[in-house]
Structure formats: C-alpha cells, structure tokens
C-alpha cells in the first residue's frame, strides 16, 4: 500500500463513517427516549435511496401506497379511540396528519412526473413519503408497548425490520439501484482527487450533527426529548407526553435514515436489504458509545468506516467479519469496567 491508496481508502472510510455517524446518532436518540433498539432504521435508509432511484427511473414508487395505507390504518385506530373516549376535538389533527398529508403527497407524486423535476424537489418528495412512516410505525407498533421491557421492544423491532424488509423486496424488487450524483465536481488536493459527492456527504453529515446539537440544546422540543430520555415518569409529570416524545424521536430517526439513504445512493448500489447492514454498522458505532453518548457514537462511526475500507483492501472477503467483531473488545472492556447487578424491569 502506498500513500495514495491509503488516502483513497481513508476518504472512503470517512464518507461511510459520516453516514454511520448519522445513523448511530439516531439510534442513540431513539434508544434514550423510547428504550427501543431501532433495528428497522436500515429500512428507512433503503426506502429513501430506492424511492429516489424510482423517481429517477421515471416510475412511481410503491412506497406512496404504503404511506397511504399505513396512514389510513392509523387514522382508523385513532378515530375509534377518540370516539370511544369522547375526544372528538382530536379528530381534526388525526385526519390532517394521517389522511390529508399522505393524500397530498401521493397526489403530488402522481401529478408532477417527479422524474423530470430538479433533484432538490425529488429529494423533498422522497422525504415527504418516507419520513411520516416513522411516527406512524411508532403509533402502530411501539405505542401500545411503551411500558414493555427493552427485550420485548427489541424483539418487536426485529419483527418490524422483517416486515419492512419484506415490503421493500415487494416494492423495489431484488435488483439494486444507483441515483445520479448531487455534484459532479472534482477537487485536487495535492495528489488526492476528492469527489464532489464525498464533500457533499461529509458536509451534510456535519451540518446535520450541528443542527441536532442545536436542536437538543436550544429548542423546547429538543429539551423535552432530553428530559424524557433522563426520566420518563418525571418528564410526564412535567407535562411532556411520552407519546409525543416517541413520535418525535421516530420522526427524526426516519428523517436521518431516509436522508442517509439519499446521500449514499450515488456512491454505492443500494438493494432492498442494503440498509440493514448499514444500519447494523451504525449499531456497532452506537454500542461503542454504550448507546448513551452522542460524540462517542460519532467517533465510533468514523472508526467503523475506516476499519471497513481498510479491511476491504487487505482482506475483502472478511470485511464484515472484521467490522462486527470490533464490538467484542468494546463489550469486553465495558464488561470488565462495570460490576453491578442490574435490576431489569
């Protein structure tokens, strides 16, 4: 290996690491607020990438029908509950978020011929389709189980992953897709050629991380999420609805997932099940951080990205093995430094 290859691999690793960092942040966020280990994160990555790719092929993505269907289901359940409880005032919001919004998005997709729109509009439409699925999944699957143990929530997460992955195969087929790059620019940094897309991915990740940091530090909703993460009961007593916190964190996670998918789809071919592997690598990063610390999770993600790209050079067949065994020393260290009998709920 010479310096040039090392730089190239380093660049690759940092790009992937930036994506893993975003996902790891979302995973830490969702776990802290809802205690859900969000395995289906990867499906949002795939849905984001493949929905955009379908637009660019000039076709209509089937995810719009999923959005519509899930929206109707949520509206139905919430309406029944609202009517039974005599909460008719809530109907307006239920209908707006679960019926009107999806209907508008579907209408736009069908009318506009998104394949001919500029990239930014395609991305916006993609996000409008995929992101609302986050809170809807929370409503349908996790909200009725909000008080269940971490273990039950984890098993349910795996079930949601399977459902979404199966639907992904049904919607997008087994073939992979790639989207057009956001930027065709090339920079020359000494001997190293840097892609515009690389700069774009890393830049977006950094901007998003800063935005999240500001969100948690400065806004009321951000602080509400932090409060829920620290003490669910206490936050509820202060008037912060756990359901709201759950839906908000799932919205953020779905948004980060879909955006990650959009960012990587010009660099790598995305299949319906690619997201799962990407999500799991985000997990490795999150586990390095003990599912608790955001900066550590981001650092872990870059480490995973670099390890992956360098091991694909030296031992490409064992790339995945190497990445996933990385958590072994981490777990070992955590296990040796903690000694305490924890009482699980």
């Amino acid at each position: 290996m010479n310096l040039e290859i090392a730089l190239l691999l380093g660049q690759d690793g940092i790009v992937n690491g930036a994506i893993y960092a975003l996902l790891a942040l979302a995973l830490v966020l969702v776990f802290a607020v809802t205690r859900v280990i969000f395995i289906p994160q990867g499906e949002f990555v795939a849905y984001g990438a493949l929905t955009l790719a379908t637009f660019q092929m000039g076709k209509t993505p089937n995810t719009i029908w999923l959005l519509l269907g899930v929206g109707i289901l949520v509206a139905l359940i919430d309406t029944i509950i609202a009517v039974r409880g005599g909460n008719l005032g809530r109907l307006k919001r239920i209908v707006l978020w679960n019926l009107v919004l999806p209907a508008v998005v579907v209408g736009l997709v069908l009318l506009l011929e998104p394949g001919k729109l500029p990239l930014a509009a395609q991305v916006a439409l993609t996000l409008a389709i995929v992101v609302p699925l986050g809170p809807m999944v929370y409503r349908l699957v996790y909200q009725p189980l909000a008080e269940a143990s971490v273990l039950i929530l984890l098993i349910v997460s795996v079930a949601v992953h399977l459902v979404l992955a199966g639907l992904g195969l049904l919607f997008f087929g087994a073939e992979g897709s790639r989207t057009t790059p956001f930027s065709e620019a090339q920079f020359q940094l000494g001997t190293l050629a840097v892609n515009g897309q690389t700069v774009f991915v890393v830049g977006t990740s950094v901007v998003l991380i800063i935005a999240l940091y500001q969100f948690f530090g400065r806004t009321l909703y951000g602080k509400a999420l932090r409060a829920t993460a620290i003490n669910r009961v206490g936050a509820r007593l202060m008037g912060i609805s756990n359901t709201m916190a759950g839906k908000l964190s799932f919205t953020l996670a779905a948004g980060i997932g879909a955006l990650s998918g959009i960012l990587i789809s010009p660099i790598t071919t995305v299949y319906y099940d690619t997201g799962f592997m990407i999500g799991l690598k985000g997990f490795v990063a999150a586990i390095i951080a003990g599912l608790a610390s955001y900066p550590l999770a981001a650092a872990g993600a870059v480490l995973v990205g670099l390890l992956e790209s360098f091991s694909s050079f030296w031992a490409s067949a064992f790339k995945e093995v190497i990445v996933f065994t990385l958590i072994i020393p981490v777990l070992m260290w955590r296990s040796l430094t903690s000694h305490h009998v924890e009482e699980e709920e």
Partner: protein
C-alpha cells in the same frame, strides 16, 4: 392418569407417524423436531431467564459445520464430532456470555446479532469449509450398525433427542438451580442477596441454549448430508426466536408448538404468496413479522397458555412436601459475642450523602433496633451492610472478617440473612419455592444432576426446610399459593422465612411488621424473641415504636444519614435530640 392422557396420546401419535404418513409429512416433522430443539433453548433463555439471542442459528451452524468438516476431511466418527462440536459451542458461548451477560440485558442480543453475522460470513468465506457452496457427502449416521439413511429412519433419533431435551429442561426448572434461573427475570437483586451467582446462572442457561442448538445442527448435517451457510444466517436466528415467542416462551412445550406452527405456516405461505404477489421472494417474513407484533401486543405469553386452558392440565403440581432429614446448621457464635461491627460507614449517591460516619454493633442473642424518621438512611445502611449497595468508605466487620467489599452473595454465605423494605419476590412462583431460594447455598447439586433428577434427596431436604421456616412464621397453610397473591403483610413474613432459610446467625429485618395486624405483630415479636433466645443477632428497622421498644435490647437512632443517639430503649426515648428529630423542637 387423566392428567397424562394428552401427553400419552401425543407420544403414541408421534411413534406411529413415520409409518402412517407420506414422505413429505415425515420430512416436515423432522424439521419441526430439529427447530423445536433450538427453540427449546430459547424458551429456557428468553422465556424463563429473560435474556435473548438472535444468534442461535450460528450455534446450529457450528454444530453442523463441526461434524461436516471433521467427518469429511478427517474421517472422524460422527459421534466424536458431536462431542467436539459441543465443546467448541460451549467455549464460544462461554466467551460471548462472559462479555455480554454482566452488562444490561440488551447487550446479549446485540452481541449475538454481530456474532451471527460474523459467523455466517466466516462460513461462506473459509475455503476449507467449502465457501458458499458448502460441504457435501457427509457420512450417514449409524446406530448399532443400523444406517439412518432415510428421513423415516432419522425421524426417531430427532424426536428422541427433542423429548429428552424437553424432559431434562423441565427437570432442571423444578430444582434448586431451576429456581435460580427462574429468579433471573425480575428477581436478580434478590437472588444475589440469597446467594445466587446470577452472572454464572445466566452464562449457564446461555450455554445450555447454545448446546441444544449445536445438537440440532449436528442432526441436521447428518440428515441432509450436506451443509452450506444459508440456514445459519441471522434471519434464521430471528425465526427461531419467533418460534419460541409465538409458541409461548415461558413453557417448554411452547417451543414445540411454536416450531410446528411457524414451520407449517412457512411452508404454506411459501406456496401461496408468490402466486398472490406475482413474483418470488421470501415474502412470508412480512406475515411472520406482523404476527409477532400482534402476539406481543395482544398475547405476550404466546399460544401455549391458551392451549393449556383447552386441554386438561398437564403441569406437574406436587402438592405435598415430603418429610426429609433436616439440613445441617452452621455453628452459632456464643451469645453476647459481637457479630457485626460497622465503623465510620459512609455512602454517597452522586452528591447526596446518604450515610455519614455511621457506627454500630450487633451482638449474638440481641435485638438491635435502627430507628429514625423517613429518609434518615436506614435502608441504605442495610444495603451497605448486606453488600447490595457497597459503602463508599468505612469498615464493616462480620464475624471478625471484613466484608465491605464483598458481593452480597458472599455475605449471605457467611451467615447474614435479610429482608427488603419493598418486598422482592417472584409473584408467579409458589410461596414454598420463593422461600426455597433462600436455601440456595445449602444445596450443592448442579445443573447436570438436576436435569437428570439425580438430586431428589437434596431437593427434598431443601423444600422441607422451606416448609419448616414457613410454618415457623405462620404461613404453613399457604405453601402452594402464588406468592403474588398474598397480602403485603404476609409477603413480608414470607421474606422472613426466606431469610431464615439461609441459616443466618445475623438477621437484617427491614420494616417486618409493616402491614401486619395486631395479632400477627404479636406472633412476629414472639418469633423474634425465640430466635434471639437461640443466639441469633437481629438488626431491625421498624417504625412501629410499641413493637420496637417492646422487643429491642438496644436502639440506634439515625437522622440525615448520621447517628444521633444510641442506648437502651428507655434512654433513647428520653433523649432530647431524639425527641426533636421525631417531634420537632420547641421554638
């Protein structure tokens, strides 16, 4: 006899199946049997122990590849290959368990996801294991010269292995080690305080579950006679968990029900779904996923509990506790000797000082009462002494040895029994079994003899001891009630019986009289006097002053984490500092 009727019908049906059914159904039953063995391990691990693993398929793969490689490349006998595979599996499970099981519960599943993926890719990329094409021409299994070369012939060995595993698991759960396993879910802290090494117990059930999976893999390899990585991937590991959860993860028979249902359903869905969707792919996962979500939302205990209500009861309910030779007791210290000495104990939670500069002694044959207003730090002191939450600084001597750095299970081994302020019991277990957990350290028979029921003499002695202590506290009529169904006062008495089962020479009682009626309190006071007469030291936290003052030999008063007074009951009652702490000063 009527109790066992469904089981008998089932066994007869199993025995005649290969003769009556077509090849297709025999194959299906073979697979159900193989999957049930794996799911059974998950019942023990997830349903009973409250831990889980998504990597069971990888353990199946370990068993299959071990025999596949050894029998083809080195012509090792399949039976020896089984032993080697089991040893390999145990080592891997031990390492994984050591790394993850002392952390909170979700690290094991996450660790097993990573391990499941790694091993899958490893199988597919190692040349000596045949890469993604796998290994072929694995030899036929021979048993006493009888070649098991068809599905029909193989059927019996699979189902005998499964039924053996079910029986062993059931035996294990009804034993001393089994009670420790059942205490893991929701009773870890209590179990540690009763002497159970919960980290070890968790590792043990993780290894057992892995070994079951390994056996299934070994059988699979010799049934199929070839192996490739596909059936050992993560998605299959997830499917095994489905089987256990859907079938009823807390019941050994749930594994069989779940495996049967999922296998048949999968077969059926794989037939019809491609026709509906007009394309091929494993779409059955959509339905399995939805089914699992609904099961967990609506009927978390799975199908088996529902099935058992339809069928006549099959649970083995022993309703008599046989008389047995009493367990040996420890040597009690001489009356008047100091058993416990706390010197300058300090306990800090973050910035909060809960105990500061606390010193006290308890002698054999006396009742020492620790009193003080709510929040004075009495229960914290108890937790420090019993090792549940160790002191930040200071020294604690018990029977002349320093114990402040020991784990609570080591302290109870030395003869200190305790109860909890907020009762800690296993609500669905019987009162008798709850109390028998207290006697954990007085038995020594392990998992293997429990699975084979070779420890029945010891078990009878443990249960007889539990019964004796329950009769002592006046709960002799409630032996087989569910512990959760007792009123709070009686749950406290049950905790005392459990503490007595540890054969203590020092008893720590945290508000034992709370929730008791007047007569029950009198009976309790009588019992404590009797124990004191036998030479036991008793450290008592209690708010009922009539109870305390009528019973205590000496009293220590705490406020704001510090000792404010100490002496005989009548002295303390007159101490102005104490009066101010309880009643407020006169301004």
């Amino acid at each position: 006899m009527k109790r066992h009727l469904p089981l008998l019908v089932f066994l007869v049906a199993l025995a005649v199946s290969p003769v009556m059914l077509s090849e297709f159904y025999v194959t299906l039953l073979n697979y159900i049997g193989l999957y049930s063995i794996v799911a059974l391990g998950l019942v023990l691990l997830t349903g009973v122990g409250g831990l889980t693993s998504f990597g069971q398929a990888a353990f199946v793969g370990l068993g299959a590849y071990a025999t596949g490689y050894l029998t083809t490349a080195h012509a090792v006998s399949p039976w020896l290959a089984l032993l080697i595979g089991l040893a390999l599996t145990a080592v891997v499970a031990l390492i994984l368990g050591f790394m993850t099981l002392r952390l909170s519960g979700h690290y094991l599943p996450l660790g097993t996801i990573a391990w499941g993926i790694s091993l899958y890719f490893l199988f597919g990329n190692l040349d000596f294991l045949g890469g993604h094409t796998g290994l072929t021409s694995i030899p036929v299994l021979e048993l006493f010269g009888y070649r098991l070369d068809t599905g029909r012939r193989f059927y019996y060995i699979i189902w005998i292995a499964l039924l053996g595993a079910i029986l062993a698991t059931q035996n294990l759960l009804n034993s001393r080690e089994g009670r420790a396993i059942r205490a893991l879910k929701g009773g870890g802290l209590m179990a540690e305080a009763m002497g159970v090494n919960t980290a070890r117990t968790k590792t043990v059930i993780f290894i057992i579950a892995a070994l079951f999976a390994c056996v299934s893999g070994w059988l699979y390899a010799h049934l199929q006679r070839f192996v490739n990585p596909t059936p050992f991937g993560l998605h299959i590991g997830i499917e095994y968990l489905f089987m256990a959860v859907v079938g009823g993860a807390a019941h050994v028979w749930g594994a069989l029900v779940g495996a049967g249902l999922i296998t048949v359903l999968k077969q059926w869905l794989q037939d019809i779904l491609p026709k509906i969707f007009g394309q091929s792919g494993n779409f059955e996962v959509i339905f399995f996923g939805l089914m699992l979500i609904i099961v967990l939302q609506r009927a978390r205990d799975g199908i088996w509990p529902w099935l058992i209500r339809v069928l006549p009861s099959m649970e083995t309910g022993e309703r008599v506790v046989a008389e047995a030779e009493p367990l040996p007791r420890r040597q009690m210290p001489a009356t008047g000797a100091v058993v416990l000495e706390v010197k300058n104990a300090r306990k800090v939670f973050g910035g909060l000082v809960a105990n500061n500069n606390m010193s006290l002694t308890v002698k054999a044959g006396e009742v020492m009462a620790l009193i003080g207003p709510n929040g004075a730090g009495k229960s914290t002191m108890f937790n420090c002494i019993s090792g549940v939450a160790p002191v930040t600084s200071g020294e604690i001597d018990f029977l002349g040895q320093r114990i402040e750095t020991l784990e609570s299970r080591e302290i109870v081994r030395r003869g200190m029994g305790r109860t909890f302020q907020h009762v800690r019991l296993l609500p669905t277990m019987s009162v008798l079994e709850n109390v028998a957990i207290g006697a954990h350290l007085r038995g020594s028979k392990g998992v293997l003899s429990a699975s084979l029921h070779l420890e029945r003499t010891e078990e009878a002695r443990l249960l007889a001891e539990a019964k004796r202590q329950l009769e002592r506290v006046g709960l002799g009529g409630h032996l087989f009630d569910e512990a959760g169904s007792l009123p709070l006062g009686q749950q406290r008495l049950m905790e005392i019986a459990r503490a007595l089962c540890t054969d203590p020479c020092l008893l720590l009682l945290d508000e034992p009289a709370a929730g008791l009626r007047y007569l029950e309190k009198q009976a309790l006071a009588e019992l404590l006097r009797k124990l004191r007469g036998e030479g036991m030291g008793i450290l008592l936290v209690e708010h009922d002053m009539d109870f305390v003052m009528g019973l205590a030999d000496r009293v220590v008063v705490m406020e704001f984490g510090e000792k404010i007074s100490e002496g005989l009951p009548e002295e303390v009652q007159k101490d102005p500092v104490v009066l101010e702490a309880y009643l407020g000063g006169v301004e």
